[in-house]
C-alpha cells in the first residue's frame, strides 16, 4: 500500500523547472553609479597576480593573468604571448612555438594593470546579483569587475582566488 502511494506521488509530482531562486531585485541607477565609483576608487589598488600558464596536449600555451585586490582574484585577463600584450576579453590566445617567461609576463602585466581604466557603464547579472563594471586597457575591454547590487562591495572570482592561493602556498 505504502509503495503504491509513493509511486502515485512520484507520477503526480510536477517536474521541477529551475527558475530564479528569489524575486528579481529592483535595481536603482544610483547603485550602478556607486558601483562604478567603487571600482574607480579600487582600481589604483588592483595588481597583477602570478600568471597562470596552461600547456595543452599539442604543446600550445595559454596564459591568463589574474587581477588581484587585497589577496582576492577579481577576474582573469587573457595574455597574448605573441605580442606580449593583454588580449581582449573573449579571445584567449593558444600560442604555439613561442617561449613564455613567467617573470616577464608578470612584470609586463604589472605595468599594463597601471594603465587600466574604468568604462563608465554597467550591466547587471541576475544570477550573481551583481553589477559588472568593464575595465579597459588601451582599446580593449580586458576584465569585468563584479560589484554587489548595492554598489558597496567587490565580488571576487572565488574559484580563481582559491586557485591562486593554492599556487602561492
Amino acid at each position: 500500500m505504502g509503495t503504491t502511494i509513493t509511486i502515485i506521488g512520484v507520477i503526480l509530482m510536477p517536474i521541477r523547472i529551475r527558475g530564479p531562486s528569489r524575486e528579481p531585485r529592483r535595481i536603482r541607477p544610483e547603485d550602478a553609479v556607486k558601483a562604478i565609483s567603487l571600482v574607480k576608487e579600487g582600481i589604483k589598488l588592483f595588481i597583477a597576480g602570478p600568471p597562470i600558464i596552461h600547456r595543452g596536449p599539442a604543446g600550445e600555451i595559454h596564459v591568463d593573468v589574474p587581477l588581484m585586490y587585497n589577496g582576492y582574484a577579481l577576474d582573469r585577463i587573457h595574455y597574448d604571448p605573441y605580442t606580449n600584450t593583454f588580449s581582449p576579453k573573449g579571445r584567449p590566445v593558444h600560442a604555439v612555438n613561442v617561449q613564455v617567461s613567467r617573470d616577464t609576463v608578470w612584470e609586463l602585466s604589472k605595468q599594463y594593470v597601471k594603465e587600466l581604466y574604468v568604462i563608465e557603464a554597467v550591466e547587471y547579472r541576475e544570477p550573481e546579483d551583481a553589477w559588472v563594471v568593464p575595465l579597459a586597457w588601451r582599446c580593449f575591454i580586458v576584465a569585468h569587475i563584479k560589484v554587489s547590487y548595492d554598489g558597496e562591495e567587490l565580488v571576487p572570482d572565488y574559484p580563481l582566488t582559491e586557485e591562486i592561493t593554492g599556487r602561492l602556498m
Binding site: L38, L45, N70, G71, L154, T161, E162, M169
Partner: protein, 370 residues
C-alpha cells in the same frame, strides 16, 4: 623530454618536500629499522588537526569573512597613521589564533601592501609587523600554529591549562609590539589612509568554517580529531567543494616527513638521553636556538619526545619563530607574498627577537615557564 620537464617543475615547486624526502631515503638506507619506528614517530592526531585547520583557514579566507573583519576594523582608525599601525597589529592578533599564523599572513600581507601603497608606510615594516604579530598571536590557542598543535596533542594538555600557560607570553609580546610600534612610528612621515573597498561575504561558507573550527577544537580536546575532520569535510563539501581540490596536500606530506626525519635525527646522533637531562632553562635555550636554524616545527619534533617540560619548550619554539627568517614557515610565506628583501625583514625582526628572547628567559627564570 616532457617527463623530465614535469619532474624538474615538481622539484622546483616542492623544494622543501623533495629535501625532506631525500633526507628520509638517506636515513632509510643508513638504518633499515627506521620503517619500524615510523608509526611511533608520527603524531597522527596532530597531523589530522593541522590538515583540518589548513582547510578551515582557506575557507575562512575565501569566504571574505577575514577581509570584512580586517577592513571594518581598519576603517575605524579614520586613516590616522599611528593608529593604522596599531590596528594592523591588533587585527592580526585577533585573527591569527583562529586561522593559524600562515592563514593570518595570507589575509594581512595583501592588505598591508595596499595600506603601504596608499599611506606611504614602508612595506617591509608593515609586512614584518604582520609576521611578528601572526607568530606571537597564534600562541594563545593550541590550534594557532603547527608547533603548538604538536605540543598540545603530544602532552595531552587541557584547553584551559594551555590557554592559562600561554597568557603571560601572549600579553608580554603584545605589549612589546605596542612599544615597538610607538618607537618605529616616531620618524614616519605618512599620509592619511582612505577607505578601502570591502569584498562580498559568502555567508554560507563563513558559517560552515566557524562551525568546523568549533568542531575541530572540541574533538581534538576529546582526543578524537578524526570526527572533527569528517565534520569539516562534510560542511565544506556542502558549501564549496572546490576548496577540497585546492587544499595544499603536499604540505600534509611535508609535515608527515618532518615528523619522521626530525624524530630520527636525535636517534641517529644518540642524543635522546642528553635531551632528557636538560633543565627547563636549557630546554628553553636549545629550542629557541634550534628554531632559528631549522625552523620551529622541526625543532619541536626533535625535542618533544625526550623532555617532559612542555612549558619552556612552548616558550622557546614560539619565540624562536620570530628572529631569523627560517624561524617559522609563516615568515617565508610573508616574504613570498610581499617580495620584500630578506635584509629588510631582519632589520625589523632581529632587534625585537633579541629583546623578546631575553624577556622569555626571565619568564622561565621566575618559574612561569619552568
Amino acid at each position: 623530454m616532457k617527463l623530465w620537464r614535469c619532474v624538474y617543475d615538481f622539484i622546483m615547486r616542492e623544494k622543501l618536500l623533495v629535501t625532506l624526502l631525500i633526507l628520509f631515503l638517506l636515513f632509510l638506507i643508513y638504518d633499515h629499522s627506521l620503517v619500524e619506528r615510523v608509526p611511533e614517530y608520527v603524531n597522527m592526531n596532530a597531523l589530522i588537526v593541522i590538515f583540518t585547520l589548513l582547510m578551515i583557514s582557506r575557507s575562512l579566507h575565501v569566504s571574505g569573512l577575514t577581509n570584512q573583519v580586517a577592513v571594518r576594523i581598519l576603517s575605524r582608525t579614520k586613516g590616522l597613521p599611528r593608529a593604522t599601525l596599531f590596528y594592523i597589529v591588533l587585527i592580526t592578533y585577533l585573527l591569527a589564533p583562529f586561522i593559524m599564523n600562515d592563514g593570518a599572513i595570507f589575509v594581512m600581507v595583501p592588505l598591508v601592501i595596499v595600506v603601504a601603497e596608499l599611506s606611504g608606510h614602508e612595506e617591509a615594516l608593515l609586512v614584518t609587523l604582520v609576521a611578528l604579530s601572526a607568530n606571537l598571536a597564534s600562541i594563545i590557542l593550541p590550534i594557532g600554529n603547527p608547533q603548538d598543535i604538536v605540543i598540545w596533542t603530544h602532552y595531552g594538555v587541557s584547553l584551559p591549562d594551555y590557554v592559562l600557560a600561554s597568557l603571560p607570553l601572549y600579553f608580554l609580546s603584545l605589549g612589546l609590539l605596542a612599544l615597538y610600534v610607538i618607537f618605529l612610528s616616531r620618524r614616519l612621515v605618512i599620509k592619511k589612509l582612505p577607505l578601502l573597498p570591502r569584498v562580498r561575504l559568502d555567508k554560507k561558507l563563513s558559517i560552515a568554517s566557524i562551525a568546523s573550527l568549533i568542531a575541530i577544537i572540541i574533538t581534538a580536546q576529546l582526543k578524537n580529531p578524526l570526527i572533527g575532520l569528517i565534520i569539516t569535510l562534510a560542511l565544506i563539501l556542502l558549501s564549496r567543494p572546490r576548496i577540497l581540490i585546492e587544499v595544499d596536500y603536499s604540505l600534509l606530506v611535508v609535515f608527515l616527513l618532518m615528523f619522521i626525519d626530525f624524530s630520527e635525527i636525535p636517534h641517529l646522533l644518540g642524543v635522546q638521553s642528553l635531551i632528557s637531562m636538560l633543565t627547563p632553562f636549557q630546554v628553553y635555550g636549545v629550542s629557541l636556538v634550534l628554531s632559528q636554524v631549522i625552523s620551529n616545527v622541526p625543532a619541536t619534533i626533535a625535542i618533544i619526545r625526550h623532555t617532559v617540560y612542555w612549558k619552556p619548550l612552548f616558550a622557546g619554539v614560539n619565540i624562536g619563530g620570530v628572529g631569523f627568517l627560517p624561524g617559522s614557515m609563516a615568515n617565508i610565506i610573508a616574504l613570498r607574498l610581499s617580495r620584500m628583501k630578506i635584509r629588510d625583514y631582519h632589520r625589523y625582526a632581529l632587534p625585537f627577537f633579541i629583546v623578546l628572547g631575553l624577556l622569555g628567559l626571565a619568564l622561565v627564570y621566575i618559574g612561569l615557564y619552568g
